[in-house]
Protein backbone atom coordinates (compact mmCIF):
# COMPACT_ATOMS: atom_id res chain seq x y z
CA UNK A 1 0.00 0.00 0.00
CA UNK A 2 2.71 2.44 1.05
CA UNK A 3 4.85 1.32 -1.86
CA UNK A 4 1.94 2.03 -4.18
CA UNK A 5 1.65 5.58 -2.83
CA UNK A 6 5.36 6.15 -3.32
CA UNK A 7 5.20 4.85 -6.88
CA UNK A 8 2.20 7.01 -7.74
CA UNK A 9 3.81 10.09 -6.23
CA UNK A 10 6.97 9.35 -8.22
CA UNK A 11 4.89 9.41 -11.38
CA UNK A 12 3.55 12.85 -10.51
CA UNK A 13 0.32 11.97 -8.74
CA UNK A 14 -0.25 15.01 -6.53
CA UNK A 15 -2.84 13.35 -4.32
CA UNK A 16 -0.45 10.52 -3.62
CA UNK A 17 2.24 13.02 -2.78
CA UNK A 18 -0.10 14.86 -0.41
CA UNK A 19 -0.84 11.59 1.33
CA UNK A 20 2.87 10.77 1.49
CA UNK A 21 3.72 14.21 2.88
CA UNK A 22 1.07 14.02 5.58
CA UNK A 23 2.01 10.53 6.66
CA UNK A 24 5.76 11.28 6.75
CA UNK A 25 5.77 14.79 8.14
CA UNK A 26 5.55 13.74 11.80
CA UNK A 27 8.69 11.62 11.87
CA UNK A 28 10.54 14.09 9.61
CA UNK A 29 9.66 16.99 11.86
CA UNK A 30 10.61 15.02 14.95
CA UNK A 31 14.08 14.39 13.52
CA UNK A 32 14.52 17.95 12.26
CA UNK A 33 13.44 19.42 15.59
CA UNK A 34 15.81 17.24 17.56
CA UNK A 35 18.75 18.15 15.34
CA UNK A 36 17.98 21.85 15.25
CA UNK A 37 16.36 22.32 18.69
CA UNK A 38 14.31 25.11 17.13
CA UNK A 39 10.69 24.70 16.00
CA UNK A 40 10.86 27.36 13.29
CA UNK A 41 14.06 26.09 11.75
CA UNK A 42 12.63 22.58 11.93
CA UNK A 43 9.53 23.72 10.05
CA UNK A 44 11.67 25.20 7.31
CA UNK A 45 13.75 22.03 7.12
CA UNK A 46 10.65 19.85 6.80
CA UNK A 47 9.22 22.07 4.09
CA UNK A 48 12.47 21.90 2.16
CA UNK A 49 12.59 18.14 2.69
CA UNK A 50 9.11 17.61 1.27
CA UNK A 51 9.83 19.81 -1.74
CA UNK A 52 13.03 17.89 -2.40
CA UNK A 53 11.09 14.65 -2.15
CA UNK A 54 8.60 15.92 -4.74
CA UNK A 55 11.36 16.98 -7.09
CA UNK A 56 13.66 13.99 -6.74
CA UNK A 57 11.28 11.11 -6.07
CA UNK A 58 11.41 9.81 -9.68
CA UNK A 59 15.11 9.13 -9.13
CA UNK A 60 14.41 6.76 -6.24
CA UNK A 61 14.72 3.42 -8.01
CA UNK A 62 13.46 1.26 -5.13
CA UNK A 63 10.26 2.58 -3.47
CA UNK A 64 10.92 0.35 -0.47
CA UNK A 65 13.86 2.58 0.43
CA UNK A 66 11.70 5.67 0.68
CA UNK A 67 11.88 5.89 4.46
CA UNK A 68 15.67 5.67 4.54
CA UNK A 69 15.92 8.19 1.72
CA UNK A 70 13.56 10.61 3.45
CA UNK A 71 15.76 10.47 6.55
CA UNK A 72 18.73 11.31 4.38
CA UNK A 73 16.91 14.30 2.90
CA UNK A 74 15.72 15.63 6.25
CA UNK A 75 19.17 15.29 7.80
CA UNK A 76 20.69 17.22 4.92
CA UNK A 77 17.98 19.87 5.06
CA UNK A 78 18.44 20.21 8.81
CA UNK A 79 22.22 20.55 8.66
CA UNK A 80 21.85 23.07 5.85
CA UNK A 81 19.29 24.98 7.88
CA UNK A 82 21.59 24.95 10.90
CA UNK A 83 24.49 26.30 8.87
CA UNK A 84 22.35 28.96 7.31
CA UNK A 85 21.44 30.23 10.74
CA UNK A 86 19.04 32.72 9.33
CA UNK A 87 17.22 33.10 12.59
CA UNK A 88 18.54 33.52 16.07
CA UNK A 89 18.09 30.48 18.20
CA UNK A 90 14.80 30.92 19.88
CA UNK A 91 15.07 27.98 22.26
CA UNK A 92 11.36 27.63 22.67
CA UNK A 93 10.92 25.06 25.41
CA UNK A 94 7.66 23.14 25.30
CA UNK A 95 6.71 22.61 28.91
CA UNK A 96 4.70 19.57 29.90
CA UNK A 97 1.23 20.10 31.36
CA UNK A 98 2.45 19.39 34.87
CA UNK A 99 5.38 21.76 34.66
CA UNK A 100 4.14 23.88 37.48
CA UNK A 101 4.15 20.90 39.80
CA UNK A 102 7.05 21.00 42.18
CA UNK A 103 9.51 18.21 41.47
CA UNK A 104 10.09 15.56 44.07
CA UNK A 105 13.53 15.05 45.65
CA UNK A 106 14.57 12.50 42.98
CA UNK A 107 13.27 14.62 40.14
CA UNK A 108 15.49 17.61 40.99
CA UNK A 109 18.48 15.58 39.93
CA UNK A 110 16.80 14.47 36.73
CA UNK A 111 15.91 18.02 35.74
CA UNK A 112 19.44 19.19 36.47
CA UNK A 113 20.89 16.38 34.34
CA UNK A 114 18.53 17.18 31.54
CA UNK A 115 19.50 20.86 31.55
CA UNK A 116 23.19 20.00 31.50
CA UNK A 117 22.55 17.60 28.66
CA UNK A 118 20.58 20.21 26.77
CA UNK A 119 23.34 22.78 27.07
CA UNK A 120 25.93 20.25 26.00
CA UNK A 121 23.86 19.01 23.08
CA UNK A 122 23.37 22.51 21.76
CA UNK A 123 27.13 22.98 21.64
CA UNK A 124 27.52 20.15 19.15
CA UNK A 125 27.51 20.90 15.47
CA UNK A 126 24.61 19.77 13.30
CA UNK A 127 26.45 16.74 11.87
CA UNK A 128 27.22 15.46 15.35
CA UNK A 129 23.65 16.03 16.50
CA UNK A 130 22.34 14.20 13.41
CA UNK A 131 24.21 10.96 14.13
CA UNK A 132 23.13 11.03 17.77
CA UNK A 133 19.49 11.61 16.80
CA UNK A 134 19.48 8.86 14.17
CA UNK A 135 21.03 6.39 16.59
CA UNK A 136 19.50 7.26 19.96
CA UNK A 137 16.11 8.59 18.87
CA UNK A 138 15.26 6.93 15.53
CA UNK A 139 17.01 3.77 16.64
CA UNK A 140 18.96 3.09 13.49
CA UNK A 141 21.87 0.68 13.59
CA UNK A 142 25.24 1.84 12.24
CA UNK A 143 24.55 -0.16 9.07
CA UNK A 144 21.21 1.58 8.56
CA UNK A 145 22.80 4.92 9.34
CA UNK A 146 25.46 4.27 6.73
CA UNK A 147 22.74 3.77 4.14
CA UNK A 148 20.84 6.86 5.25
CA UNK A 149 23.88 9.10 5.34
CA UNK A 150 25.55 7.55 2.30
CA UNK A 151 28.82 6.97 4.12
CA UNK A 152 30.77 3.84 5.10
CA UNK A 153 29.81 2.01 8.28
CA UNK A 154 33.24 2.71 9.73
CA UNK A 155 32.72 6.42 9.28
CA UNK A 156 29.37 6.14 11.07
CA UNK A 157 31.11 4.47 14.00
CA UNK A 158 33.75 7.15 14.26
CA UNK A 159 31.19 9.94 13.97
CA UNK A 160 29.12 8.41 16.75
CA UNK A 161 32.21 8.01 18.88
CA UNK A 162 33.38 11.59 18.38
CA UNK A 163 29.87 13.02 18.80
CA UNK A 164 29.44 11.22 22.11
CA UNK A 165 32.88 12.31 23.24
CA UNK A 166 32.15 15.91 22.25
CA UNK A 167 28.89 15.81 24.17
CA UNK A 168 30.60 14.51 27.27
CA UNK A 169 33.32 17.14 26.95
CA UNK A 170 30.73 19.89 26.56
CA UNK A 171 28.89 18.74 29.68
CA UNK A 172 32.09 18.49 31.70
CA UNK A 173 33.17 21.94 30.55
CA UNK A 174 29.78 23.23 31.60
CA UNK A 175 30.20 21.62 35.04
CA UNK A 176 33.49 23.43 35.53
CA UNK A 177 31.91 26.83 34.94
CA UNK A 178 31.26 28.65 38.25
CA UNK A 179 27.61 29.14 39.03
CA UNK A 180 26.11 32.61 39.31
CA UNK A 181 26.17 32.34 43.12
CA UNK A 182 29.85 31.39 43.08
CA UNK A 183 30.66 34.28 40.75
CA UNK A 184 28.96 36.83 43.02
CA UNK A 185 30.47 35.41 46.19
Amino acid sequence: MFRDIVERAAKGDQEAFASLAQSSSGRLYAVAYRILRDPYLAEDAVQQTLITIWNELPRLRDPDRFEAWSYRVVVRASTAEARRGKRAATALRLLPDDADRAPGPDEYGAVADRDRLDRGFRKLNADQRAVLVLHHYVGLTPVDMAEVLGIPVGTVGSRLHYATRALRAAIEADDRRPSAEERTA
Binding site: A21, Y29, W54, R59, D118
Partner: protein
Amino acid sequence: MTGSNDLERLLGAYLEDGPRRAPERPVDAAIAFARSNPRRRDPLLFLKPDVMGRRPAAFSPQLGWALLVVALTIGVVAAVAIGSRRDQVPVVPPPVVESAAPSATPSPEPSPSPAPTSFSVDLFDQAGFTRTLEVLDASGTVVAVENGRVLLDEPVTDIVAIADPDDPMRLIVRWPFKPCDEELVLTVDRAAERLVLERRGCVIGDTIGGNDHQITLTFAGPVAVASLDLQLTEVP
Protein backbone atom coordinates in the same frame (compact mmCIF):
# COMPACT_ATOMS: atom_id res chain seq x y z
CA MET B 1 26.40 11.25 34.77
CA THR B 2 29.92 10.09 34.31
CA GLY B 3 29.35 6.56 33.05
CA SER B 4 28.97 5.83 29.35
CA ASN B 5 25.73 3.95 29.92
CA ASP B 6 24.36 6.78 32.03
CA LEU B 7 25.08 9.30 29.32
CA GLU B 8 23.45 7.19 26.63
CA ARG B 9 20.41 6.51 28.80
CA LEU B 10 20.00 10.18 29.59
CA LEU B 11 20.57 11.13 25.98
CA GLY B 12 17.88 8.71 24.89
CA ALA B 13 15.43 10.16 27.41
CA TYR B 14 16.40 13.71 26.42
CA LEU B 15 15.78 13.02 22.74
CA GLU B 16 12.48 11.29 23.46
CA ASP B 17 11.24 14.55 24.87
CA GLY B 18 9.94 16.74 22.07
CA PRO B 19 7.27 17.07 19.40
CA ARG B 20 6.33 14.14 17.20
CA ARG B 21 3.74 15.81 15.09
CA ALA B 22 4.54 18.36 12.39
CA PRO B 23 2.82 21.71 12.16
CA GLU B 24 0.53 22.09 9.17
CA ARG B 25 2.36 25.00 7.59
CA PRO B 26 5.35 23.19 6.02
CA VAL B 27 3.16 20.31 4.85
CA ASP B 28 0.59 22.62 3.28
CA ALA B 29 3.35 24.68 1.67
CA ALA B 30 4.98 21.59 0.15
CA ILE B 31 1.66 20.28 -1.18
CA ALA B 32 0.92 23.71 -2.67
CA PHE B 33 4.37 23.67 -4.26
CA ALA B 34 3.67 20.28 -5.83
CA ARG B 35 0.35 21.48 -7.20
CA SER B 36 1.91 24.58 -8.72
CA ASN B 37 4.88 22.64 -10.10
CA PRO B 38 3.49 19.56 -11.78
CA ARG B 39 6.18 17.11 -12.66
CA ARG B 40 7.06 16.75 -16.30
CA ARG B 41 8.21 13.51 -17.83
CA ASP B 42 11.98 13.48 -17.97
CA PRO B 43 13.21 11.58 -21.04
CA LEU B 44 16.71 11.39 -19.59
CA LEU B 45 15.61 10.02 -16.24
CA PHE B 46 17.15 6.64 -16.94
CA LEU B 47 20.54 8.34 -17.22
CA LYS B 48 20.33 9.98 -13.83
CA PRO B 49 21.73 8.15 -10.83
CA ASP B 50 19.61 6.64 -8.10
CA VAL B 51 19.18 9.08 -5.22
CA MET B 52 19.94 6.27 -2.80
CA GLY B 53 22.88 5.06 -4.81
CA ARG B 54 26.21 4.81 -3.10
CA ARG B 55 29.36 6.24 -4.53
CA PRO B 56 29.40 5.93 -8.31
CA ALA B 57 31.06 2.78 -9.47
CA ALA B 58 33.85 2.88 -12.00
CA PHE B 59 31.42 1.72 -14.68
CA SER B 60 27.86 2.17 -13.56
CA PRO B 61 24.83 1.30 -15.72
CA GLN B 62 24.07 5.00 -16.00
CA LEU B 63 27.55 5.68 -17.31
CA GLY B 64 27.15 2.85 -19.79
CA TRP B 65 23.89 4.26 -21.06
CA ALA B 66 25.42 7.73 -21.30
CA LEU B 67 28.35 6.41 -23.33
CA LEU B 68 25.98 4.53 -25.60
CA VAL B 69 23.91 7.65 -26.24
CA VAL B 70 27.03 9.70 -26.95
CA ALA B 71 28.33 7.07 -29.36
CA LEU B 72 25.00 6.89 -31.18
CA THR B 73 24.83 10.67 -31.43
CA ILE B 74 28.32 10.87 -32.89
CA GLY B 75 27.44 8.12 -35.37
CA VAL B 76 24.29 9.86 -36.54
CA VAL B 77 26.05 13.21 -36.91
CA ALA B 78 28.89 11.61 -38.85
CA ALA B 79 26.46 9.81 -41.15
CA VAL B 80 24.55 13.00 -41.84
CA ALA B 81 27.76 14.91 -42.50
CA ILE B 82 29.08 12.28 -44.90
CA GLY B 83 25.73 12.09 -46.64
CA SER B 84 25.54 15.84 -47.16
CA ARG B 85 29.05 15.91 -48.58
CA ARG B 86 28.18 13.17 -51.03
CA ASP B 87 25.19 15.18 -52.18
CA GLN B 88 27.46 18.04 -53.12
CA VAL B 89 29.81 15.98 -55.29
CA PRO B 90 28.63 16.29 -58.87
CA VAL B 91 27.99 13.28 -60.96
CA VAL B 92 30.68 13.27 -63.58
CA PRO B 93 29.59 11.57 -66.76
CA PRO B 94 31.70 8.53 -67.54
CA PRO B 95 34.35 9.11 -70.18
CA VAL B 96 33.45 7.94 -73.63
CA VAL B 97 35.74 5.15 -74.78
CA GLU B 98 35.88 4.80 -78.52
CA SER B 99 35.63 1.28 -79.77
CA ALA B 100 38.36 0.03 -82.06
CA ALA B 101 35.89 -1.73 -84.28
CA PRO B 102 33.11 0.21 -85.95
CA SER B 103 29.84 -0.31 -84.25
CA ALA B 104 26.78 -1.59 -85.99
CA THR B 105 24.58 0.74 -84.11
CA PRO B 106 25.22 4.24 -85.34
CA SER B 107 23.51 6.17 -82.57
CA PRO B 108 24.32 5.27 -78.99
CA GLU B 109 21.71 5.59 -76.32
CA PRO B 110 21.56 9.03 -74.74
CA SER B 111 23.45 9.24 -71.51
CA PRO B 112 21.37 9.82 -68.41
CA SER B 113 20.91 13.42 -67.33
CA PRO B 114 23.45 14.53 -64.78
CA ALA B 115 22.06 15.44 -61.43
CA PRO B 116 21.89 19.21 -60.98
CA THR B 117 23.88 20.47 -58.08
CA SER B 118 24.00 23.75 -56.26
CA PHE B 119 26.63 25.64 -54.39
CA SER B 120 26.48 28.61 -52.11
CA VAL B 121 29.35 31.01 -51.70
CA ASP B 122 29.71 34.18 -49.66
CA LEU B 123 30.99 37.30 -51.37
CA PHE B 124 32.54 40.15 -49.44
CA ASP B 125 32.66 43.63 -50.79
CA GLN B 126 35.10 46.36 -49.93
CA ALA B 127 32.89 47.68 -47.15
CA GLY B 128 32.75 44.28 -45.53
CA PHE B 129 29.16 43.44 -46.44
CA THR B 130 28.41 39.85 -47.21
CA ARG B 131 26.37 38.71 -50.16
CA THR B 132 25.49 35.16 -51.03
CA LEU B 133 25.81 33.76 -54.50
CA GLU B 134 23.89 30.65 -55.42
CA VAL B 135 25.39 28.55 -58.22
CA LEU B 136 22.94 26.19 -59.90
CA ASP B 137 24.81 23.68 -62.00
CA ALA B 138 22.61 21.74 -64.40
CA SER B 139 25.60 20.13 -66.09
CA GLY B 140 26.82 18.31 -63.02
CA THR B 141 30.40 19.10 -63.97
CA VAL B 142 31.11 21.86 -61.49
CA VAL B 143 33.14 20.41 -58.69
CA ALA B 144 33.71 23.43 -56.50
CA VAL B 145 33.04 27.13 -56.24
CA GLU B 146 35.35 29.49 -54.38
CA ASN B 147 35.05 33.09 -53.44
CA GLY B 148 37.72 35.12 -55.15
CA ARG B 149 39.41 38.14 -53.78
CA VAL B 150 37.84 41.52 -54.36
CA LEU B 151 39.53 43.19 -57.27
CA LEU B 152 40.41 46.82 -57.04
CA ASP B 153 42.25 46.99 -60.33
CA GLU B 154 41.19 46.19 -63.85
CA PRO B 155 37.51 46.97 -63.35
CA VAL B 156 35.10 45.26 -65.70
CA THR B 157 31.90 46.63 -67.16
CA ASP B 158 30.25 43.29 -67.87
CA ILE B 159 30.59 39.67 -66.82
CA VAL B 160 33.79 38.08 -68.05
CA ALA B 161 35.36 34.64 -67.78
CA ILE B 162 39.08 33.99 -67.67
CA ALA B 163 40.82 30.66 -67.80
CA ASP B 164 43.04 29.99 -64.83
CA PRO B 165 46.55 29.94 -66.31
CA ASP B 166 47.64 27.37 -63.75
CA ASP B 167 44.72 24.97 -64.03
CA PRO B 168 42.70 24.36 -67.21
CA MET B 169 39.80 23.02 -65.17
CA ARG B 170 39.36 26.27 -63.27
CA LEU B 171 37.40 29.23 -64.56
CA ILE B 172 37.52 32.71 -63.11
CA VAL B 173 34.32 34.72 -63.45
CA ARG B 174 34.17 38.45 -62.74
CA TRP B 175 31.36 40.94 -62.87
CA PRO B 176 30.91 44.56 -61.83
CA PHE B 177 29.60 45.44 -58.42
CA LYS B 178 26.24 47.04 -57.82
CA PRO B 179 24.95 48.26 -54.48
CA CYS B 180 21.89 46.09 -54.82
CA ASP B 181 23.89 42.90 -55.39
CA GLU B 182 22.02 40.91 -52.82
CA GLU B 183 20.21 38.14 -54.64
CA LEU B 184 22.73 36.64 -57.01
CA VAL B 185 22.22 33.41 -58.91
CA LEU B 186 24.65 31.92 -61.40
CA THR B 187 23.23 29.20 -63.60
CA VAL B 188 25.36 26.74 -65.55
CA ASP B 189 23.39 25.03 -68.30
CA ARG B 190 23.35 21.30 -68.97
CA ALA B 191 26.12 21.51 -71.58
CA ALA B 192 28.29 23.67 -69.33
CA GLU B 193 28.52 26.14 -72.18
CA ARG B 194 26.30 28.91 -70.95
CA LEU B 195 26.64 30.80 -67.70
CA VAL B 196 23.92 33.26 -66.71
CA LEU B 197 24.31 35.51 -63.70
CA GLU B 198 21.06 37.01 -62.47
CA ARG B 199 20.86 39.79 -60.00
CA ARG B 200 18.26 42.23 -58.83
CA GLY B 201 18.13 45.39 -60.91
CA CYS B 202 19.02 48.74 -59.41
CA VAL B 203 17.18 51.97 -59.96
CA ILE B 204 19.67 54.36 -58.47
CA GLY B 205 23.11 54.19 -57.10
CA ASP B 206 24.37 51.59 -59.50
CA THR B 207 28.14 51.32 -59.45
CA ILE B 208 29.00 54.22 -57.21
CA GLY B 209 31.73 53.31 -54.80
CA GLY B 210 31.74 49.67 -55.73
CA ASN B 211 34.22 47.06 -56.78
CA ASP B 212 34.07 43.93 -58.81
CA HIS B 213 33.26 40.47 -57.61
CA GLN B 214 35.05 37.33 -58.60
CA ILE B 215 34.52 33.64 -58.13
CA THR B 216 36.39 30.60 -59.34
CA LEU B 217 34.55 27.58 -60.67
CA THR B 218 36.32 24.24 -60.81
CA PHE B 219 35.02 21.79 -63.37
CA ALA B 220 35.52 18.08 -63.67
CA GLY B 221 37.37 18.58 -66.93
CA PRO B 222 39.14 21.27 -68.93
CA VAL B 223 37.06 24.33 -69.74
CA ALA B 224 36.90 25.86 -73.22
CA VAL B 225 36.61 29.50 -72.30
CA ALA B 226 36.35 30.73 -75.86
CA SER B 227 33.14 28.80 -76.47
CA LEU B 228 31.44 29.95 -73.26
CA ASP B 229 28.37 32.11 -73.48
CA LEU B 230 28.20 34.50 -70.53
CA GLN B 231 25.25 36.65 -69.64
CA LEU B 232 24.59 39.12 -66.87
CA THR B 233 20.90 39.81 -66.46
CA GLU B 234 19.04 41.96 -64.04
CA VAL B 235 15.70 40.87 -62.74
CA PRO B 236 13.22 43.34 -61.33
